[in-house]
Amino acid sequence: MDPIIAAIILFVLALVIGFEVITKVPPILHTPLVVASHAMASIMVVSAIEVTGTATNLLTTILAVAALIMGTVNVVGGYFIADRMLAMFKSDKKKKQ
């Protein structure tokens, strides 16, 4: 199969799965969902790692490192703040124990 077509098919399938899973997230968890999905989108950091490790001249190295730093802050900050928020959601029963 044409690799580009395959990539487009993957894109559409993932879109459908995304719709299916995410419509079930209740409104009270929307903010943590937003932050967690930002962290996930920052999988872009892998490309930043790749271009940093293969950069050839000064200009591309500077741009690549800038991308790497922004991407890493995104991933790490995103997951930790989502965790901090989710830890605050306690049920009534749990509190009484």
Partner: protein
């Protein structure tokens, strides 16, 4: 080690598939407050798999910068995550989102400047010209999406942080300007695809996309931020997806679609709760429709408002069995969450049924109000959505409205000529008694009077949210002792 590197290089897509599976199961666990924390870490683990697989990738020759940059940025990430104020989460998300767009655009620029096709594109079964055209079309698209996300998010951050005015800054002939910018970007993209050695077209795309990003978000007012932020998640997903097409990296393409879907769903929910046209928003039309003429407030309310005192409210609460608290962003601004928690604790101690009725756009981003209330230890099973609340409200003895206005305005149900007509609201007026804590009769964002305030069963407590609530709690305790 060599063996591992061979595997990581040859079976890149397989590793990413694992990552995507962890992400999907992580999102699935995020559908319940009980399992959400686990889901978040499962997804973080998936991210680790992707990063390790990339570090093993054969093309990487130097690790020093990756390690130094990675460690410093990780420390910054953890510190910021623990230091940020929960009220500032929307700004934080805007910054993160801008960074996402920045990463995407920068990586595309680096790849373009290298002047060499990425390995996966090189492997495509086409002739050299076709491969180059595919790559440069993808790079153009990615620069466009990444740049617009970056600048748009920076404007949202500046507005939320009050560095610039929250009011919409609309350019004259906004739609025409935006359209021309978009045409310019497409022309530059096509020229870059046909003539990749010319750097002018790259700068063209970057500059025009920056202008479009600025123009689109400057036009948005503070009240519309929940929509903008939801739209940005979608953009972040799109930038990851387009970057995936640049490298033909299946992992990025799949994650981009997942996140893009999540943004689209939230945007649709927010658009519905603000009575906006979802498709209009997708086309960049976030500014509200023309407002109807504001009625004269004084004559509307004259002589019909019944005001009350904290003492009286305490007595009403004492005789109530069920109480709904309706928080708006005004509550967060006044830092009255603590006072609301005290009231909640006092009332539940006496065996009263207390719940929080939360409109989807209460707060500055989807679900923001829930986080603010969870922070002061309100149990999540007491946080009710719009639909749940509207089922409960007719049987509720007292509804206390704190810092919310438009989202409880009955005109949305009745007045066809009102700018909020058709917007889903909390049916607070259907409960037996309504207490509105508000500083004055000033209108909300929609700029229209609220008939709820002159209803038969409504009482107004003119006070700041925090001292008002504290006073009610004090009077209530006194009554009980």
């Amino acid at each position: 080690m060599e063996f591992l590197r061979n595997i990581a290089t040859e079976y890149q897509t397989v590793f990413y598939l694992f990552t995507v599976l962890f992400f999907i199961f992580g999102l699935k666990l995020l559908t319940s407050a009980r399992t959400a924390r686990k889901g978040n870490w499962l997804s973080a683990f998936g991210m680790t798999v992707a990063v390790v697989a990339t570090l093993l990738y054969k093309g990487i020759i130097s690790y020093e910068l990756i390690i130094i940059g990675g460690i410093l940025a990780s420390i910054a990430g953890v510190l910021s995550a623990y230091l940020v104020d929960m009220r500032a989460i929307p700004q934080f998300v805007a910054i993160l989102n801008g960074f996402g767009g920045g990463v995407s655009a920068l990586v595309a620029i680096v790849e373009f400047l290298k002047g060499k096709l990425p390995p996966n594109v090189e492997k495509l079964p086409f002739d050299e010209t076709t491969k180059s055209m595919y790559f440069h079309a993808a790079v153009s698209l990615d620069m466009f999406v990444g740049t617009i996300t970056f600048w748009g998010s920076m404007v949202a951050f500046a507005k939320l942080q009050k560095l610039i005015t929250e009011r919409p800054i609309v350019l004259p002939a906004k739609n025409l300007v935006n359209f021309l910018l978009l045409v310019g970007i497409i022309v530059c993209g096509v020229l870059l695809t046909l003539n990749p050695s010319n750097l002018t077209y790259m700068f063209g795309i970057l500059i025009l996309s920056s202008l479009l990003g600025l123009s689109l978000t400057l036009a948005v007012g503070g009240a519309d931020m929940p929509v903008v932020i939801s739209l940005f998640i979608s953009y972040a997903g799109l930038s990851a997806g387009t970057l995936g097409f640049v490298f033909l990296n299946h992992g990025l393409i799949m994650v981009g679609a997942l996140v893009g879907a999540s943004g689209l769903i939230l945007t649709r929910i927010m658009a519905k709760s603000m009575n906006r046209d979802f498709y209009g928003i997708l086309l960049g039309n976030i500014t509200p429709p023309e407002m109807a003429k504001v009625q004269d407030d004084r004559s509307f309310y004259q002589g019909k408002v019944k005001s009350t005192t904290p003492e009286e409210v305490a007595m009403i609460l004492d005789s109530a069995n069920s109480v709904a608290i309706v928080p708006g962003y005004g509550l967060a601004v006044a830092q009255a969450q603590g006072a609301v928690r005290d009231l909640y604790n006092e009332l539940t101690k006496d065996g009263k049924e207390v719940y929080f009725a939360i409109h989807p756009v209460a707060g500055r981003m989807p679900g923001h109000m829930n986080v603010l209330l969870a922070e002061v230890d309100i149990p999540y099973d007491k946080l009710k959505t719009l639909e749940e609340s509207n089922e409960l409200l007719p049987d509720t003895d007292v509804a206390i409205v704190v810092g919310a206005n438009d989202v409880v305005n009955p005109l949305a149900r009745e007045a066809k000529d009102s700018p909020i007509y058709g917007m889903p609201i909390l049916d607070v007026d259907k409960s037996k008694t309504v207490i509105v804590i508000k500083r004055s009769l000033a209108p909300g964002f929609a700029g229209i009077p609220n008939p709820l305030f002159i209803n038969e069963n409504s009482l107004m407590l003119f006070a700041d949210a925090k001292p008002g609530l504290t006073e009610i709690v004090r009077e209530y305790k006194e009554l009980k002792s």
